[in-house]
Structures are given as structure tokens and as C-alpha cells.
């Protein structure tokens, strides 16, 4: 066994040394190609780089090599190959942008025909939530309203995944599939003059939010905001009632007494932190419940139960705080409509000035 591990390590080490030597050789080749380019011997550049390009290289090397090739083909007036090389620059580094002060104007002009911004990105999230109850009709199981009643906040949690479609660098639309466990409490004091009743109601939800988003596209920290609409499917309800502090009910399933499909309006925002080509984010979302949670046709009448609780007609709002990860799927591609006007204006402006 030990012998196998030693042989494996030796093999791995050999591979690393080999690759390292190969990259060092290609680094020299790239420097040589750059020298040929600087010397005006453009035709020699592609041939020099050809061997190294056929091997796997690191992304930095590939970016520089393809950029050199793109400039070379521009000077050789081979537009097709220049475009192909620039596309490979973006495939190596999707966030590469030309610099008018650093790069030749024809390369800048070429770059405006391409983009590598992501069309879709995937995100995953996890966080905490709490629920706010808004009563539509107060429904009491007693004939006299002597008891004081209030809803209390309880914590829940949620997790989910989503896909964003990026219309452009700022605007986009997203759809998510979230699983949430939300909870609220209800307290009634002075019930029948002297009793208390406490309810803890925990629901599990599967929700499908659809949103329109605006995101700032620059900087390490990128704030964003969105509005949306969510379809929510109630999966289960667990309710527990305690009377007079120590008489505890069994766990009830009020699912059949609630509306199983509800909708809500969403408004939210957050901050994305750029980490390489990916993002981490913190998100705060308010979900405004639109539907009555109680099913009036199947209300939980406490007619066969010793715990005198009946659902109000109520809507439920939620506040979600989530953190998560965004993985953009960059796609290097040629634009259908090149954004070259600004470059042309500058070029003409420069010519006029001369």
C-alpha cells in the first residue's frame, strides 16, 4: 500500500514539474513572439505560438497569447482570425476589457464587437426568516371578547436556489425555488377570565418567486434591488397549543384548514461582493402576503377538540434575511449590434484634431 502511495506521489510530482517546465518554455515562446511582433515580423507570431496554444496553458498565458494574436491579425488585415483570437481572449478572461490608453485603437474597436457578460447565473441561498400576521377578520372561539390576543414573532429558516437571466449588465430577471420553514406565535390572555392559550404555528413552504432586478455593475460591492411575485405552496403545518402554561395539546396538522396555494408580492435588495469571477451576497426580502391563509370553507372549528383555538382570517408577511453564492455563467460571444460608435467618434475626433 505504502509503495503505491509513494509511486503515486512520485508520478504526480513528475507531472507538476513537467507542466511547470512546459509553461516556462511557453512563457519564453510568448516573450519571443512579443519581440517578433515589436520588431514588425508579424507573420512569425502565429507560427511561434501555435505549438504552445495546442497544449493546455494557464488562463493568464492564454489571454496574453490570444491578445497578441488578435493584434497581429489586425495588422495583417485578417479580420476573421483577429475576431476568433479576441473571442478566445474573452474565453480565457471573461472580464477582460481593452484600455484606450494602453491598447491600440483598432483592438479597442474590435473589442466593442464582443462581450462575455453572463446571460444566466445560478445562485444558492440560506437564511433566517420571521413572519408577521395581518388579520383580515378576527375569529374567536368565545362568545365574549374578554381575552387579549396578540400574534408574536418566531424565527424560521429558508434555503433555495435560483437562476437569473441578465438582460444587460444592470437589468435582469430571476426565478427561484425556495424551501422555507416559517413560524408565528399567538397568545390569548384572560380566556374565560383566568386562562391563557399559546399557539406555536410552524409551516413549511415551497415557493416560486419571479423577480425583476437592478444591479450596479461596478465595484467589489454591488448593491441590487428587486421586486417580484411569488407563488407559494403550503407543504405542512404543525401547530401546538399550550393552555395555562402546562396543558399541552398534541401536534395538530392544520394543513387542511389553510389555503394551500398563496401568492405574495416581493420587494428586496442586498449587496453582492465580487470574489474573482463569482459573488457572495447578503439579501433582505419582504414578502407581502396577498391571500387569506385560513381556508374559510375548512376552518379548524374546535368542535372535537378541548383546545379552544380557531384560525383568524389572516394574511402572512415574511421578512427573509439570506446569504448566498452566485455563480455566473460567462459566455464570450460576438454582439449582434456592435458598440463601436463611441470609438468611431473618438477616432474621428482625433483625426480632426490632427
Amino acid at each position: 500500500m505504502k509503495a503505491r502511495i509513494v509511486i503515486g506521489c512520485f508520478f504526480l510530482l513528475t507531472l507538476i514539474v513537467y507542466r511547470s517546465e512546459a509553461q516556462s518554455a511557453c512563457e519564453l515562446t510568448l516573450n519571443q513572439a512579443q519581440e517578433e511582433f515589436d520588431a514588425g515580423r508579424f507573420y512569425a507570431v502565429p507560427a511561434l505560438l501555435e505549438t504552445c496554444l495546442s497544449k493546455n496553458q494557464n488562463r493568464g498565458w492564454e489571454q496574453r497569447a490570444h491578445l497578441l494574436l488578435a493584434e497581429t491579425y489586425l495588422l495583417l488585415e485578417d479580420a476573421a482570425k483577429a475576431e476568433a483570437s479576441y473571442l478566445k481572449v474573452l474565453q480565457s478572461n471573461p472580464e477582460f476589457v481593452t484600455d484606450e490608453t494602453r491598447d491600440p485603437i483598432d483592438l479597442v474597436y474590435l473589442s466593442k464587437k464582443f462581450t462575455a457578460t453572463p446571460i444566466f447565473s445560478f445562485s444558492g441561498r440560506l437564511g433566517l426568516n420571521t413572519s408577521f400576521i395581518r388579520v383580515i377578520h378576527n375569529v374567536r372561539p368565545t362568545g365574549e371578547h374578554k381575552a387579549s390576543e396578540k400574534y408574536t414573532l418566531k424565527a424560521g429558516w429558508q434555503g433555495g436556489a435560483g437562476v437569473d437571466y441578465h438582460y444587460d449588465e444592470n437589468w435582469g430577471a430571476g426565478v427561484e425555488l425556495n424551501y422555507a420553514v416559517s413560524s408565528f406565535g399567538f397568545e390569548s390572555k384572560g380566556l374565560f377570565d383566568e386562562s391563557t392559550l399559546e399557539l406555536t404555528d410552524q409551516q413549511t413552504w415551497l415557493s416560486l418567486p419571479v423577480m425583476v432586478k437592478y444591479t450596479r455593475s461596478e465595484g467589489a460591492f454591488r448593491p441590487y434591488a428587486y421586486v417580484g411575485y411569488s407563488f407559494n405552496l403550503l407543504l405542512s403545518v404543525k401547530s401546538n397549543i399550550v393552555v395555562d402554561g402546562d396543558i399541552e395539546s398534541p401536534v395538530y396538522n392544520f394543513k387542511e384548514n389553510r389555503n394551500k396555494l398563496t401568492q405574495s408580492l416581493l420587494v428586496g435588495g442586498g449587496l453582492k461582493y465580487k470574489w474573482g469571477l463569482r459573488y457572495f451576497f447578503a439579501d433582505l426580502r419582504y414578502s407581502l402576503g396577498l391571500r387569506n391563509m385560513a381556508d374559510p370553507d375548512n376552518r379548524n372549528f374546535p368542535i372535537n377538540d378541548p383546545f379552544p383555538y380557531v384560525d383568524d382570517d389572516f394574511r402572512m408577511d415574511n421578512l427573509f434575511l439570506s446569504v448566498g453564492y452566485i455563480h455566473p455563467f460567462y459566455k464570450a460571444r460576438k454582439l449582434k449590434k456592435a458598440r463601436t460608435k463611441s470609438v468611431l467618434r473618438k477616432t474621428k475626433g482625433g483625426t480632426n484634431a490632427e
Binding site: 372561539p141 365574549e144 371578547h145 395555562d244 396577498l290 368542535i303 372535537n304 383546545f307 379552544p308 394574511r315
Partner: protein, 420 residues
């Protein structure tokens, strides 16, 4: 573009449930509990023409002291007023609307004062706003102290009140067929005039070990101001087969102010005892429905037993034991708005505890459906039933909650359900 945006926003918001588009369904069909500290038990129910309801109940404080209370609720079951009735250790049993005379529209209530061995009867009159008008305690009889009311009847033709109930053995010194030692209770019915002046006994029958007047009605039997008293008695039938057999049966008598007459009947099955619980006047055809329990002697429950007479007592339309294979005890009955009767009772479950049982019975005595209500591990009992003006059914009973026993008002649809 802007218009489209607003259309989309309106579309989404139109799906919002608000107080304007969510029906407060719990106002139509519901169960509501009433009471304060201690136990509260339901006793009776009266429905007004406007759909409001008067609930009669008894409260037992943690100290053991019991008091009667009365509550008026609107058609949604919300309390309009409530007040204590009478004194401590007083039990309310029946309430009726005063049907004629200067107090028409007000309420008459019958209560029993004191523990059973010393029980005396009080009748009280109240306004519809709960304020007391007056009350009177039935005078003690020279031979005894125990007098128990079961119901009170407001008379129409000769405004006044009749109390049905029973008295203990001391009221009538009996000879045969019951010796005084075996005499437990005798049918007792007496009358008050409109000013609550005691007019004396309407009926005071013996000859039984156990008997009680359950309900008295005015009856047009061809004689002016005739009454008919329904009850139960174990007085043996005047036949050789039943000689010495003291078995409870339904009875009725049409006495002429204290003088028993030959107008009467005893009805029941030969091998079981029949305990009358309630009597209602029927409308289709006009007559009387007697509802109670047919049971093996010694048992507290059995089967529902119904007897229906026409208004002249010449025809017995119904004489049926409804065998549902359950352990039932009849408590109350009412006419349905369409056809048939609602029978309210208690069902003893396998655990030995009681639940409320509501049975719809057709005119020919067939049970059409039965509904049970009651907490899983509590002793829940029925008290009264009434059909509301809009066809809903109102039931008053007692439910044993996790807190205490509470008076329960259950309002159901005409199929015994809690939804439309």
C-alpha cells in the same frame, strides 16, 4: 409601457384578500364557548324572531358554589349581555318566551333552589335586555320540601305559567301500588297567573315509584283552558301482565285543574323502560312529538324512542324505537324547517365518555343522518336545540375543554355541518 405596468400591478393586487372580499364565514356556522372561571354548563336555549338567542346555563365556581346565568347573543354568537340569575346554589333549567299578556315578549325562567333534597322552585321574569322584572318561589308544601322543576310553559289563552316537574314522596302519602318507602318522586305540575300568584297544582299524581312531569301545553281538547301534561311514570299498567311491574313509560294526562281525568295514555315497550326527555308541538300534522330514551332498566342510555300523537290524541302517528346500534340518550328535539325532526342527545362512546349527538329523523321515524360533536377526552353533553329563523340549527351543550367545562353554542347548517 407605463399603462401596461399599471395593468400588471393591478392584476397582481386584485388577487389580494381583504376584509371586503373575504366572507366572515365564522359568523354563520360556528362553535363558541361561554363562561368565566370554573365550570359552566349549558341548560337551555331560546331563539328570538330576530335570530338573537338567549342561553341559559349554570356556573360552578372552583369553590363549589353554583349559580345560574343567562346570556343573550346576536345571530353571530357574540354576547349582547349576560347576568347572574337568582341566588347562590340555584340551578336554571328552562326558559321560554312569554307569549301573551302584559309581559308578552319578555322571558320566563324556571330554576331550582338548593340541593336536591331541599329543592324548591323559583320562576323569574326578565326583560329582553336582561333586567329582572320579578320572581316568585313556589311555597313549601306542608308534607315535604323537595320540589323540582323540569320546564316552564307560558300560556297563551289564559296568560300565566305552568311549571312541570316532580316532588318527592312526601307530597303524596301513597298506599298501593307503591308503598311510601319505595316512593321516590311523583309527577307535579302547578300554575301561576300572570301576576305570579300561585294557583295551586294542576296535576299531582302518585302511584309510581318514579315519575316526573316533563312538559305541559295548552290543549284544545274541546274544553276551555284545558292543559295536557306529558311526563314519564313507572306506574304499572292496569293489566294483569304488568301488575307489579314498575317500568318507566311515557305518559300524558289532560287534567282539569287538579282533577285527573280519564283522558290520558301510557306508552312504551314491555321489556324496556322509556324515559321521556322532551315534547314538542309538531306542525305537519299538528300534534305532539314525545322524544326520549328507551333503555334496559339500570342503563343510562339506549335508543331514541319517539311517539307522535295528532292534536286530538286520537291517532298515534309514530311509535318507534330508532335502533342505530349506538348508546344514546335523548335530551331535546325540534321541528326541521322542511320535513322531519332534529333529535339531540348524548352518545356514550367506547371510552365511556359522552359526546353530543344530533340526529335527523324523517316523519316516518327513519334516521337520515347523525352527527357527533365533542372533545376527544372530555365529557360533553347536550342541553337544547332550536331551529333558527334562517334554517340554521343552534345547539347548546357543555364541552369539557382543556381549561374547564364550558357552555357551548354550536350553530350548524341544516345538514348538521359547519360550512355552507
Amino acid at each position: 409601457m407605463r399603462n401596461n405596468f399599471f395593468v400588471i400591478v393591478l392584476f397582481f393586487l386584485s388577487g389580494c384578500d381583504t376584509g371586503n372580499n373575504v366572507d366572515p364565514v365564522y359568523q354563520d356556522y360556528f362553535i363558541k364557548y361561554f363562561g368565566g372561571a370554573g365550570d359552566q354548563r349549558g341548560a337551555d336555549l331560546l331563539v328570538n324572531e330576530d335570530g338573537s338567542m338567549i342561553l341559559l346555563g349554570n356556573s360552578i365556581a372552583p369553590s363549589g358554589i353554583y349559580t345560574a346565568f343567562i346570556t343573550k347573543v346576536n345571530r353571530y354568537g357574540n354576547v349582547m349581555w349576560e347576568r347572574q340569575l337568582g341566588d347562590v346554589n340555584e340551578t336554571a333549567v328552562d326558559i321560554e318566551l312569554i307569549k301573551s299578556g302584559s309581559q308578552a315578549g319578555n322571558l320566563i325562567v324556571a330554576t331550582n333552589i338548593g340541593v336536591e333534597a331541599n329543592s324548591r322552585i323559583r320562576i323569574l321574569r326578565l326583560n329582553q335586555d336582561g333586567t329582572g322584572i320579578d320572581s316568585v318561589i313556589v311555597p313549601l308544601h306542608e308534607n315535604g320540601v323537595k320540589q323540582v322543576a323540569t320546564t316552564v310553559t307560558s300560556l297563551v289563552n289564559d296568560p300565566g305559567y305552568v311549571v312541570s316537574g316532580y316532588a318527592d314522596k312526601n307530597l303524596i302519602q301513597e298506599t298501593l301500588p307503591v308503598s311510601d318507602d319505595n316512593d321516590q318522586q311523583d309527577i307535579l305540575v302547578f300554575k301561576f297567573d300572570e301576576s305570579l300568584t300561585f294557583l295551586g297544582k294542576v296535576l299531582n299524581k302518585g302511584g309510581e315509584k318514579k315519575g316526573a312531569g316533563i312538559k305541559t301545553f295548552e290543549w284544545d281538547g274541546g274544553i276551555t283552558d284545558r292543559l295536557v301534561v306529558f311526563g314519564f311514570s313507572d306506574k304499572p299498567l292496569p293489566t294483569e301482565a304488568s301488575d307489579g311491574l314498575f317500568e318507566l313509560n311515557y305518559t300524558y294526562d289532560a287534567p282539569e285543574y287538579g282533577i285527573p281525568t280519564a283522558t290520558g295514555d301510557i306508552v312504551g315497550t314491555p321489556s324496556e323502560e322509556e324515559l321521556l326527555a322532551t315534547v314538542i308541538q309538531t306542525t305537519s300534522p299538528n300534534g305532539f312529538l314525545l322524544a326520549g330514551t328507551s333503555r334496559t332498566p339500570g342503563n343510562s342510555s339506549g335508543d331514541i324512542y319517539l311517539v307522535e300523537y295528532n292534536s286530538s290524541f286520537e291517532v298515534k302517528n309514530l311509535d318507534v324505537k330508532i335502533d342505530l346500534g349506538r348508546s344514546l340518550e335523548c335530551v331535546a328535539a325540534d321541528n326541521t324547517p322542511s320535513s322531519g325532526y332534529y333529535i339531540l342527545g348524548n352518545e356514550t362512546t367506547l371510552s365511556g365518555l359522552k359526546d353530543l349527538a344530533l340526529i335527523k329523523v324523517s316523519y316516518d321515524g327513519q334516521a337520515e343522518w347523525i352527527r357527533n360533536f365533542g372533545t376527544a377526552q372530555g365529557e360533553d353533553t347536550s342541553a337544547a336545540i332550536a331551529t333558527l329563523p334562517d334554517g340554521r340549527i343552534a345547539i347548546v351543550g357543555t364541552m369539557e375543554l382543556a381549561t374547564n367545562k364550558k357552555l357551548a353554542l354550536v350553530v350548524l347548517n341544516n345538514r348538521g355541518g359547519l360550512t355552507k
